[in-house]
Amino acid sequence: MEEVGLLINGIYLKVPQGYTLLQAAQQLGVDIPTLCYHPELPSEGNCRLCVVEIGEYPRTRLVNSCTYPVEPGLNVQTHSEKVLQARRIVLELLLARAPKAKLIQDLAAEMGIHESRFKSEDPYELCVLCGLCVRTCREIVGVSAISMANRTPGKLVTTPFLEPSDACIGCGSCAFVCPTEVIPYIEKDGKRIIWGREFELVRCNVKLEQKLKSISTVKL
């Protein structure tokens, strides 16, 4: 495979063509914080935590490393002042949105932020709209039972019409992948309740085929 040479934080390295900047940085052992990124899912560049600075001074700009492809000779800074400032504000904004989300608190603390200077509209909000659940349900589970609805002012993850969804198979993958543990999910007395629907849990019969079958034939 063809390789591309580029500079990350002043270090020259070669990576396969088609790599993203994030992958290249990981190969170098450089740690870039991410939130909406998952190696098994298509990247969408939503959270902007993984931004890096590219180009030659003074014409540099920030791009999200999870989608930006490596280019020959590209000069990349992963922890420049401009990058750190952007990450700090992004985290501070997220902390105002979801003040109780453990992951955000931790990520923010790493950048020295313990409290947001911005107003918190809902102190109990946990969702940061990273979209991992939506992508998992669509790309991995393949049923698309949940999606984003509305634009900025009222954007949220939901089932259609905020009702129990016929498409949901109760697999719980969305709740599993959620980094802030916001997806309501109850399991007790052999039942699982998720997205307003109840699924009977069936003992695992080892064979995946059968397992899937049992899940898809659960009673409402």
């Binding site: 992004v90 904004l93 949105r97 984003m148 900025t152």
Partner: protein, 617 residues
């Protein structure tokens, strides 16, 4: 309409219709552009129709409803050709007099001609009106001349002439060369070189490619593209055929916002005409080139003007922008290489091909070639559409063409570039208007909205207005824009309602910097401009709101007090009826009084008072 079989047939057909037309024939051209339509141009045209019938003028006089005549302030506008008499503020009641006096009597109706707001001097002919004198109309040239619903009209003025040249005499590379040499830059905002964009797309291998016309025009305060789509739809189609040929695309899309129903109708009609006539479809004029166009309607989302969001919308998805690269030229509509250009960009193309790139490049400044259409609105005497060479100064546009600020008030700022642009203060009035100069002062060219503000506008309120607009319109995909706008709006709401704190200014600056650098698309990246420019040029106004809890321009209502001047009050009780909370009372037939504890400062009493008795502080 005949089906045109070949390019010679087209020339022959054009010759025929030209021969049928007498340039000396009396024409009545009623403006039905975005400005005149709401003032009743349909009724005016109807009145002419009636009068012509009554006076037996049918067949002798041609009546047309045309696109925008430019000087919207004085609508409804009527132009009489060949005399070039320009009437303004025409109502259906004026029509019998125009017909009687001018059409039959050959005299001018003096009270309907242009009058200078200061000197009182009148001008009968279009060419004598100062508003038109400094202009250089290329894109708007045909708007007051042709019936936008008539393909024949477009052909008579030389429409679709480029096809002979482009499809038969030029290679695609030569077309791209010409556009590149003309120096044409995109008119939709960013000002990317159009020729270069086309070349990039042509170079990407692939059988299937697309061209798109961006007619989303979501910038509030802008209606240039609307005027062109409604007034000269075939120019856009012609430009797109040229572009399609150049990059090797066989399908084009025109994306129009649904808030422009007339534009949708005219474009749909024009595409159907062109198809029927043989100018769209397979093997156009037997050149071997196939090209067709579909109309796609927006559904109310400003962000869909952004190219990747627009593409997502045509594909049937929500209008969320995608990270670039890949650029649309590499991977656009349905994953295929796609060129997307603005309405005005496309409309410039035919003339560049016809007149040659050197002719076009001779207009404008070194880095911004040609002309630009602006919608000049707000606190200016001559509101309307203007088209001037790039590099014309703001002062020329606002004071010479625009006739200055009404009511003897003072100029305060001009807002360019819509929500992505900035407010430019007085000290930059001599700035030449081109892509780079505007950027230097913190604004952008944008699509061409130019909103003039006088001392009655509060710049903090203006910033709050744009942020609240963008907050509603942001797609919500990425954090800096979604959460940044939310917090900016919170802060600006606080400041304009008297809750501002000193540290708010720094907080806003920090949010703005990150929104600009780290947002995914242009909406978030430029959303900070209205705040940053007002903070930079009008900081004292922010400070007055924050420190003194005062709005110097008397706009931010929570910071105002309404009182009734007992001397001026006539006890008409109009305000008492209007007040939604019953805060106004008083003895019968005596001056009324506002109870400050009940008053919610909605200002409606002030609006309805005919006697200026409601005072604001």
């Amino acid at each position: 309409m005949p089906k045109i079989e070949s390019v010679d047939h087209l020339t022959e057909y054009r010759r025929q219709i030209r021969a049928q037309r007498d340039p000396k024939q009396q024409q009545i051209l009623v403006c039905s552009g975005p400005g005149c339509l709401p003032l009743g141009s349909t009724e005016v045209a109807g009145a002419f129709q009636e009068q012509m019938q009554e006076k037996g003028l049918q067949g002798k006089v041609i009546l047309k409803s045309t696109g925008c005549h430019g000087l919207c302030a004085h609508g409804v506008r009527v132009l009489l050709r060949p005399q070039e008499i320009a009437y303004q503020k025409v109502t259906p009641e004026d029509v019998p007099e125009i017909v009687e006096t001018t059409l039959i009597g050959g005299k001018v109706v003096e009270r309907l001609v242009y009058q200078d707001p200061d000197s009182g001097q009148t001008a009968v002919h279009k060419s004598e009106i100062p508003f038109y004198q400094g202009q250089k109309p290329l894109v708007l040239r045909k708007l007051d001349e042709i019936d936008p619903e008539s393909l024949d009209d477009y052909l008579v003025v030389g429409g679709y002439r480029t096809l002979r040249k482009v499809l038969f005499k030029m290679s695609p590379e030569e077309v791209i060369d010409a556009v590149e040499r003309s120096g044409l830059r995109g008119r939709g905002g960013a000002g990317f070189l159009t020729g270069r964009k086309w070349r990039l797309c042509r170079q990407v291998p692939g059988e299937v490619k697309f061209v798109i016309c961006n007619g989303d025009e979501g910038d509030p305060g802008a209606f240039m593209d609307r005027a062109v789509m409604e007034g000269d739809p075939h120019a856009i189609i012609e430009g797109m055929i040229v572009g399609g040929y150049a990059i090797g695309a066989h399908q084009g899309y025109i994306y129009v916002r649904h808030e422009y129903p007339l534009a949708v109708k005219r474009l749909t009609q024009a595409v159907a005409q062109a198809r029927e006539f043989g100018l769209l479809g397979n093997n156009i004029l037997r050149s071997g080139f196939d090209f067709d166009i579909k109309i796609s309607q927006g559904s109310g989302a400003f962000v869909c003007g952004e190219e990747t969001a627009l593409i997502a919308s045509i594909e049937g998805n929500i209008g969320e922008p995608m990270p670039r690269p890949p650029y649309p030229a590499q991977k656009g509509l349905f994953g295929m290489p796609t060129v997307i250009n603005n309405v005005e960009t496309w409309a410039n193309v035919p003339e560049i091909i016809n007149m040659g790139p050197e002719w076009f490049a001779a207009l404008g400044t070194e880095k911004s070639k040609g002309t630009k259409v602006f919608s000049l609105v707000g606190a200016v005497n001559h509101t309307g559409l203007v088209e001037v060479p790039m590099g014309t100064t703001l002062r020329q546009i606002i004071f010479e063409l625009g006739g200055g600020i009404p009511g003897g008030r003072e100029f305060k700022a001009v807002q360019t570039g819509g929500p992505s642009g900035g407010c430019i203060p007085k000290q930059f009035l001599d700035l030449p208007v081109d892509y780079d100069s505007l950027q230097e002062v913190g604004s952008i060219m944008g699509s061409g909205g130019m909103i003039v503000m006088d001392t009655t506008s509060c710049m903090v309120d203006v910033a709050r207005y744009f942020i609240s607009f963008l907050f509603e319109e942001s797609c919500g995909k990425c954090t800096p824009c979604r959460e940044g706008l939310r917090q900016l709006l919170n802060i600006l709401n606080d400041i304009t309602s008297g809750e501002g704190k000193e540290e708010h200014i720094t907080l806003m600056e920090e949010i703005c910097t990150t929104m600009a650098s780290a947002s995914l698309c242009g909406l978030g990246q430029s959303a900070a401009n209205p705040v940053l420019t007002t903070l930079k040029y009008f900081r004292a106004e922010y400070e007055a709101h924050i420190r003194d809890k005062k709005c110097p321009a008397l706009v931010c209502r929570p910071l105002l007090t309404y009182t009734i001047d007992p001397e001026a009050c006539t006890a008409c009780l109009a305000c008492v009826r209007e007040c939604p909370v019953g805060a106004i009372s008083g003895p019968k037939k005596e001056a009324q009084h506002i109870d400050q504890d009940i008053c919610i400062k909605c200002g409606r009493c002030h609006d309805v008072c005919q006697f200026d008795a409601v005072k604001v502080e």
